[in-house]
């Protein structure tokens, strides 16, 4: 019985990539039942993707390294069957899914797999797959006209076009805004429940793991630490943190207050029952707000006056992305630009750098009209850090990249300055390496160092925390504080609402190319209608404190725990039943 149910069976697998000294996977044994929904978690570089690549035969057929052990997928031993045969049973969506779309149009790509397997009805199958993922684009549309979210759905359609038993998705929501992220997980859940697919995701966002997954596999340093049911897994707060995984915020809060006694909540709904309403009534602790107040006495550093911008499309039309945006940014501000994919955040940042010019209206940086100035001269004032750090590596070593700006301007003694910056960003040991070959976290650090070396007064960052594990993310957030010391104003475009809640002194909400709100975290996260309109979701802990009626809202786990504890110390009885209320 048990034998039949396991759709994936991995037995004592050890694998070393060709040319590598250390094995990437060590003695991994794992069995996954049919119909399961499994999350694989672990820090950056814990071999999560490598493990998944053993499941469709890419290892050992495509990557022929040292291979010991056995993997059986849907009754087929991967060693004895080709990748193509195994791929009929396993769909795979990559983290950089854009590169797995190989055909020019939507339907072509969705029906490419059935065509390769010689199925006469390949077009119907393609259409079916498109309907399954609910892609709202014409089947004849060209790939490069699709938005990021649509491309991801198309990659999913290609992966499910043969109706596989198993679907593996590597970081499904890394580049999505919170609302689109939820849609993707709803879709995966439908595949799981209605089509009986076994779903495996590699995921850093444990909030989603708690809401949708059934089992969790923890990986560390190429070893499988354990596989547990989701509730039990996310309750191992200490162990998860040791392995660079953040448990959901509500679980962290409960852990802070009550330790590991009893079952900790892992979802918002459970947390509502767990924390008694009494705890929420606690008064606000004195100065929990570490965020500086708005300072607007000075002259603005950046002003946009009715600035509009549109892209040219291939059909020789125009697609407006910014509509008459009027904004000013002041010294000392830490601004977060938020809004769903395509709201115009990146376009606004690019206008400030001067690489694109407003179509109408104007943008001034420290009084200089960007329309009349080259990006090279604006670079003395403004630094733009790309969303994809690789786009910033124009030299063949980190050191050369950091010194590029200084050298071009013939700054005296720039070597010393570069040494200092490399040290403060923890890059001294990596300075001779090519940026493209570093890990995701190291690349982010390097891109920040490049920016700071330019000594700007305004620094613009596009999605600085996308797809990082907690160790790296913490690193970057503290770097942001470091960056703040060097510059007047920091502007970040981001989907990371935790970052927004913890860091921003001013939040600008954008929607369809317009600014629909300009305020603070209180005014943004306290307004459910605004969040819904802009397609945003408040961080879990903020939402929990809102549901519990706490005034003002809590923005960090620490603050939440501190206020609850303060409530207890004031003699309000904690509802002791709370800890047993779930389960």
């Amino acid at each position: 019985m048990d034998e039949q149910q396991a759709v994936i069976r991995i037995n004592d697998l050890t694998f070393t990539y060709p040319g590598a000294e250390e094995p990437a996977l060590r003695n991994v044994s794992l069995s996954i039942d049919k119909g399961d929904f499994v999350a694989i978690i672990g820090g950056n570089g814990s071999a999560k993707s490598t493990l998944c690549k053993t499941m469709n035969g890419l290892i050992p057929h495509f990557y022929t390294g040292d291979y010991a052990g056995e993997v059986t997928i849907a009754g087929l031993r991967t060693g004895e069957h080709s990748v193509s045969e195994l791929s009929r049973h396993v769909g795979y969506v990559y983290q950089d899914f854009e590169n797995q779309l190989v055909r020019p149009t939507v339907l072509d790509d969705a029906s490419f797999v059935p065509l390769n397997y010689g199925m006469r009805d390949y077009k119907e199958r393609g259409m079916q797959a498109l309907a399954m993922v609910g892609l709202d684009a014409s089947p004849r549309e060209f790939i490069w006209q699709l938005s990021g979210g649509q491309k991801h759905l198309l990659a999913l359609a290609g992966a499910v076009s043969l109706g596989p038993d198993i679907l593996i998705v590597d970081e499904p929501i890394a580049q999505l805004d919170p609302c689109h992220a939820r849609e993707i997980y709803e879709l995966l859940q439908r595949f799981n429940e209605q089509h009986g697919m076994t779903i495996i995701v590699i995921e850093h966002h444990t909030e989603f793991v708690a809401d949708y997954c059934k089992h969790v596999v923890l990986m560390a340093g190429g070893r499988l630490v354990w596989k547990k049911p989701v509730h039990e897994a996310l309750n191992q707060v200490g162990e998860l943190l040791r392995h660079d995984v953040f448990p959901p915020q509500v679980t962290q809060a409960a852990h802070r207050m009550h330790g590991s006694h009893g079952k900790l909540p892992v979802t918002l709904e459970e947390a509502e029952l767990y924390f008694s309403p009494v705890e929420g009534k606690a008064p606000a602790a004195g100065d929990v707000l570490a965020v500086p107040e708005l300072i607007r006495r000075d002259q603005p550093v950046v002003t946009a006056e009715a600035a509009s911008f549109s892209y040219k499309t291939v059909e020789r039309g125009k697609k407006p992305v910014l509509r008459e945006v009027t904004l000013s940014f002041y010294p000392g501000e830490q601004v977060a630009l938020v809004g769903n994919n395509g709201a115009g955040k990146s376009s606004l940042l690019r206008l400030i750098t001067g690489v694109t010019k407003p179509e109408s209206g104007s943008v001034h940086v420290k009084g200089i009209d960007t329309l009349r100035t080259s990006p090279e001269s604006l670079a003395d004032l403004v630094t733009y850090i790309y969303q994809n750090p690789e786009d910033m590596f124009i030299e063949d070593s980190i050191r050369k990249d950091v010194e590029f700006f200084l050298k071009a301007r013939k700054v005296e003694n720039y070597q010393e300055k570069v040494d200092r910056i490399l040290a403060s960003f923890n890059l001294t040991g990596l300075q001779e390496r090519d940026g493209r070959l570093l890990s995701g976290g190291q690349q982010r650090r390097a891109s920040l160092a490049i920016g700071v070396a330019m000594d700007p007064s305004i620094i613009l960052l596009d999605e600085p925390t996308a797809s990082l594990d907690i160790a790296t993310r913490k690193d970057i957030v503290s770097m942001l504080t470091e960056v703040r010391r060097h510059v007047d104003t920091v502007i970040i475009a981001t989907h990371d609402m935790q970052l927004v809640a913890e860091w921003a002194s001013r939040i600008i909400v954008m929607h369809e190319g317009q600014v629909i709100h300009d305020g603070t975290r209180e005014s943004v996260f306290g307004d459910p209608y605004l969040l819904a309109q802009a397609g945003l979701t408040a961080p879990q802990i903020v939402e929990l404190s809102r549901r519990m009626g706490m005034q003002p809202l809590c923005y960090t786990v620490e603050e939440f725990a501190a206020r609850c504890r303060a409530g207890q110390e004031e003699g309000v009885a904690v509802n002791g039943a709370g800890a047993q209320a779930i389960g």
Binding site: K53, N56, L58, F62, V83, S84, E85, S87, R88, V90, Y92, Y94, D96, E98, N99, Q100, L101, V102, R103, P104, T105, D108, F112, V113, L115, N116, Y117, G118, Y122, F142, I143, W144, G158, Y311, K312, T313, V314, E315, R316, T353, V355, K357, S374, P375, E376, A379, Y384, Y386, N388, D391, M392, F393, I394, F404, F405, A408, D434, R436, I450, M454
Partner: protein, 269 residues
């Protein structure tokens, strides 16, 4: 000065990308685009090669007129026409000017003018044929006449990647601009600025190659999982894929009219 700046704004990387894509995919609704790729192959085989062996000027002139008509019919992007004209002028035109300068007379200039005419016919024929076929059609056509599946896939894939390549290139180019230093004075005829831009335009290729190589790894793996190498395009897959190609009435009509026109040209001279 203002004019120069406006002109420079027009020839942005973005604009080039749009023109290229338009040339490749944007003309699906023209009369020529509805023809079967094999028709266009045959047509191009004649008009691309025959001019080399024809020496009667009136015939060449007549063919040139025909090519201009087909070029207009296939709505080719102005950028391509401009590049074509520049190419022709510099290739043959300068010989013409040179021979005039160095004491040549009508006898030396005439053959050069004929050569230019031949080149024009061939170039316009190529432009017409390849704009009438989008890359998909071209690759299907090649597959149909027996080209290896990998060649045919490569053409379609190359075009699918083109916008990505250009975007990536654009990003890197901007990275250079966002960190570099442009010359403070433009110099006579903007020579300093021109050199600066040409330099970063060339330098941008190096990071581009590396990052594209990195992306290609996913693509190669994905092709494996999509069963592309498994299919190896055996006869059955080839048949299913190409079932939509059919020679129709308009194909034969188009070939017949072209042939008739050429015969007419010869009989008139």
């Amino acid at each position: 000065m203002e004019q120069v700046r406006k002109l420079l704004d027009k020839i942005s990387v973005e604009q080039i990308k749009i023109e290229l894509l338009n040339t490749a995919y944007g003309n699906a609704d023209t009369l020529l685009a509805r023809l079967d790729p094999r028709t266009l192959f045959i047509w191009y085989l004649f008009f691309g090669i025959a001019p080399w062996f024809i020496h009667q000027e009136p015939v060449l002139l007549g063919m040139f007129v025909f090519m201009v008509i087909t070029t207009v019919m296939s709505r080719i992007s102005p950028l391509i026409i401009a590049i074509l004209c520049m190419g022709l002028l510099s290739q043959a035109g300068y010989m013409l000017v040179a021979s005039w300068f160095f004491g040549g007379n009508w006898d030396t200039i005439m053959p050069l003018a004929v050569l230019t005419l031949k080149l024009s016919v061939i170039s316009l024929a190529s432009v017409t044929a390849f704009c009438a076929m989008d890359p998909e059609k071209l690759s299907d056509g090649l597959l149909k006449i027996g080209a290896p599946a990998k060649v045919s896939f490569g053409i379609a894939y190359g075009y699918r990647m083109l916008p990505n390549l250009l975007d990536e290139y654009h990003h890197i180019f901007l990275s250079f601009r966002l960190r570099g230093k442009a010359p403070e004075k433009h110099g006579i005829l903007y020579w300093r600025s021109v050199i600066y831009f040409v330099k970063i335009a060339v330098l941008s290729f190096y990071p581009l190659l590396l990052s594209m190589a990195k992306r290609a790894r996913t693509t190669v793996e994905a092709l494996e999982t999509k069963g592309f190498s498994y299919a190896g395009y055996d006869a059955e897959v080839r048949r299913i894929k190409l079932a939509h190609l059919r020679m129709q009435g308009r194909d034969y009509l188009f070939l017949a009219i072209s042939a008739l026109y050429v015969v007419l040209l010869f009989s008139l001279t």
